[in-house]
Symmetry: C2
Subunit: 474 residues, 2 copies
Amino acid sequence: MAQRVLTPQAEDFPRWYQDVVAKAEMAENGPVRGTMVIRPYGYAIWERMQREVDDRIKAAGAQNVAFPMFIPESYLQREAEHVEGFSPELAVVTHAGGKELEEPVVVRPTSETVFGEFMAKWIQGYRDLPLLLNQWANVVRWELRPRVFLRTTEFLWQEGHTAHASEADATAYALRILHDVYRDFMVEVLGIPVLVGRKTARERFAGAINTLTCEAIVGDGKALQMGTSHELGQNFSRAFDILYLDADGQQQHAWTTSWGVSTRMVGGLIMSHGDDDGLRIPPRLAPTQVVVVVVRDDAGCLERGGALVDELRHAGVRVVLDDKVSVSFGRRATDWELKGVPVRVEVGPRDLADGVVTLVRRDLASDNPSRKQTVGLDQVAAAVATALEDGQASLRRQAEEHLAARLVDVEDLDSAVEAAATGAARIPWALVGDAGEDRLAAEGVTVRCIQRPDGTVPASADEPDLVAVAARAY
Amino acid sequence: MAQRVLTPQAEDFPRWYQDVVAKAEMAENGPVRGTMVIRPYGYAIWERMQREVDDRIKAAGAQNVAFPMFIPESYLQREAEHVEGFSPELAVVTHAGGKELEEPVVVRPTSETVFGEFMAKWIQGYRDLPLLLNQWANVVRWELRPRVFLRTTEFLWQEGHTAHASEADATAYALRILHDVYRDFMVEVLGIPVLVGRKTARERFAGAINTLTCEAIVGDGKALQMGTSHELGQNFSRAFDILYLDADGQQQHAWTTSWGVSTRMVGGLIMSHGDDDGLRIPPRLAPTQVVVVVVRDDAGCLERGGALVDELRHAGVRVVLDDKVSVSFGRRATDWELKGVPVRVEVGPRDLADGVVTLVRRDLASDNPSRKQTVGLDQVAAAVATALEDGQASLRRQAEEHLAARLVDVEDLDSAVEAAATGAARIPWALVGDAGEDRLAAEGVTVRCIQRPDGTVPASADEPDLVAVAARAY
């Protein structure tokens, strides 16, 4: 029996989250309020997320760029809803180079305004459209109640910004990003069965005419917004004069979109798959898919462990060797469980005498007898490949079962509030509306998204028979 | 004869540089003084640099992390030389979240101080050493005379920070980064024959006991510092209490290093290889190695062009198709020359009738007859592979010849100043010294580095027979 290193989830989920972030060496609080230091293991996970999302963004035709983090205060003021939405969260540079600045500059909370300014320069005619840009960047929104990864004053993200010749094209692209980039990555790589849908008017991004979202229902039944894709209509193209000449030689305002995912996804990953023993990282994402643990430094364990690492690495597996035999085997096993490495291969003298090693799957619970198996030395690569594939499917299945258990269909607002105590409620949107949102908000519950009954994204909030997903949220 | 699109280098090199940055769509000035917007083509080049440098950093054992960009002002003040060196360049956030901050925070100009604070927490015993960390980040140093890529208020870089148990280990690691990461990348991938050496005391990083550098001698004969690796001694470990218990149970201060390369390398690339027709990107770096240009949309040109792109991509070549036949062929050829794509494959109806295409190498001058060759359709992949290999070697050879022509051995300070009008001077370090540096500085010339006579890095500035490389610098 492993010693207790984490607060159990059932006892105090937020405390469990803090514990696992610290003990798995994912991140720490930074010196300035609300900031975080992402440690090597946490950053390796973020790098893998970046690579997978970036590949999909490029496949969707967007190109990466880098805009400055300093934005003139006047830019933000040009779009009324935008400045109102972000003003309370801005960090402002008033002094630089030893002098007071004539015009203060803000540290970007998001970059619609500065992209807008340059898109207006780069776009002349309809042949320049669509213009599909993205950047990986840090942004700042001053947080009063920060929580590592979930809500930090500075966070890392990508923000896509695109301009289109028609509303239909902009709508289609915002949807494409939601489905082919975000949902595909979250479901297929993270193994998180996110719900997709539209935000209500009050939950929209400041300046958008439509916000699409991916929402996870995490371990404690709360919702976490994992990514959003916004149609900005012509709001920013009017504010920044993003004009193009159409095929008839007429000046038109472009239609723009923006979309982003952030280091918040790391928090979503932790809270979606973690258990009382620590993290559980899906194999497709994991920076370390397999750890080969040498139990003792005798009986050929070290040599055999090294050879297995070479063999697995050659087979394309992301594998590390743990040969720190000066630390007890039990302590090391506990640490690898904490870090959620999908597969552990234990190389010990007794097993080796029998020509076998022990393979342990992290996706299965510690009381599940099939999580450990004995594997012949010439079968390790094949067994690892199977375990990684099964582990990916099993984490996703467990998350789907969790979602099915926590997502409850209800027919009135009282029942929605009750369901939101432990999960999420699906309630007819017609029963909610603006007044219903007020009612829910009074209980700390929000409409996370509006969906069609089959879970797909509606073209407008006015389609018949829509359902609202209501939950408490991070 | 192509029309003139750039100011010729011989006429006005800085103007040529500005022209090519703009016309090749690499970058533009941002809205806040000294900042830049890196456009897709410039950013793709930076992404390739990042990948190559990051691979080498990881091979040197360092792990990536992310520290916050906001640093409490008090941190900087703890190391005397450091705060003195950076104070004039700081950007300061005084207001955030709608309030004045109790303690202003600075936007990191570099992160020694905040790494120091956390290394002190993470390091307990000698087994925790060496601690090898790196981050890819943006930093801010307020610039009075900004120049895109070379000197900008905000720039992108990597900064490595390491802690070691002994001075010898720190020294060896700083050298390893200089040689195996920076010089190897710059010579083998960028094709730039950088000079390596030590900085003089006055040119050192603020807070370092030794600064190692890679210096390029670019097109106009000026020097450009391309990357630096610093030994920080125990200065930061004393300021931040980075202590460890040695094997005898004694508390010791660690020895730290820091090292970085930045988007300035993009400027170095442009100025090292560019010519009067535009950029010339070395094939190993180029985000686009080959462009297949369809001359007209008849006679099967489009189909053949598409098939060639598929074939080359399958062979692992980074290739794009240019089928914009609505734009004149000449204009498109000029644009690809400007962007410096290493190889152009032109697919035209007359050539196709003969079963051939035309292959053009960008590394050779426009009046060099061998830059164009006619290649049979079944020989394109092989010819492209050869052209990419030859192009890489040829750009490096041209840069080596340029360096040999511009680097002059001299025996007195007057001759050094004279040589620095068109290039760099190698002068016995014993003839320079502190007074000589004053004398050179009065003429706008600095000692870029001190080397052994064979061009290797000396262990100290007191070795006999050292030479100083003196030049004007960006």
